[in-house]
Symmetry: C2
Subunit: 120 residues, 2 copies
């Protein structure tokens, strides 16, 4: 598999990370996601990482990059489903994902995005 | 990875198949899904297979089993995002997934489930 599917739900895009990320996969995801944001005028991006048991600085940087990329395209990124061990590792790695919004699960993430959409 | 994540959105569950299925993964998915349907009282299950380029009789049977399993637990299964080549292969294999509802993408699948929910 060399592409991670991006699901559209209204003006939100949902990406579920299930597999180990490698360089090409991460690059493809960035390309695909920015193209989809442009094409669908999406306002929000949900990245579900609930199936990640472990995380490294590569994943951390990828999430930060996707978030920055979405922001310049006027979409908000919310990372959902982070496991406690992953949260601990990210903080220990110094990757506290400042600027990236998080939510406990997809439902809360969607609510967060719908709410932020109402802001001016 | 030995488990496929199941995302909850309201009374719907969403499963995105991204990796090659093997026996244990399929069994785990059936266990997890039935447990989640029970716990969340979900009315619908969306299975996204948009990232599958090829399909074999194992996947076909797995989808049929999940659909039957959901049905006896009073939930409707909709398979979404099937690629043309996959559809052709399934029909050629004789697995026409009778009894399984399909939709072109997640949004349409969700609409289908919401609509069928209104039926008596």
């Amino acid at each position: 598999m060399d592409r991670i599917p991006i699901l559209q739900m209204g003006d939100l895009l949902l990406v579920t990370i299930q597999v180990d990320m490698h360089d090409q996969l991460a690059l493809n995801l960035q390309d695909d996601l920015s193209e989809r944001i442009r094409r669908t005028s999406a306002r929000g991006v949900l990245i579900d990482i609930s199936s990640l048991d472990i995380v490294d600085s590569f994943i951390g940087r990828m999430i930060a990059t996707i978030s920055a990329l979405s922001r310049v395209m006027d979409a908000t990124t919310v990372v959902v489903g982070m496991q406690p061990a992953v949260a601990i590792t990210l903080v220990e790695l110094g990757l506290d994902l400042s600027g990236v919004r998080t939510a406990l699960n997809v439902e809360r993430g969607m609510k967060l995005l719908r709410r932020s959409d109402e802001l001016p």
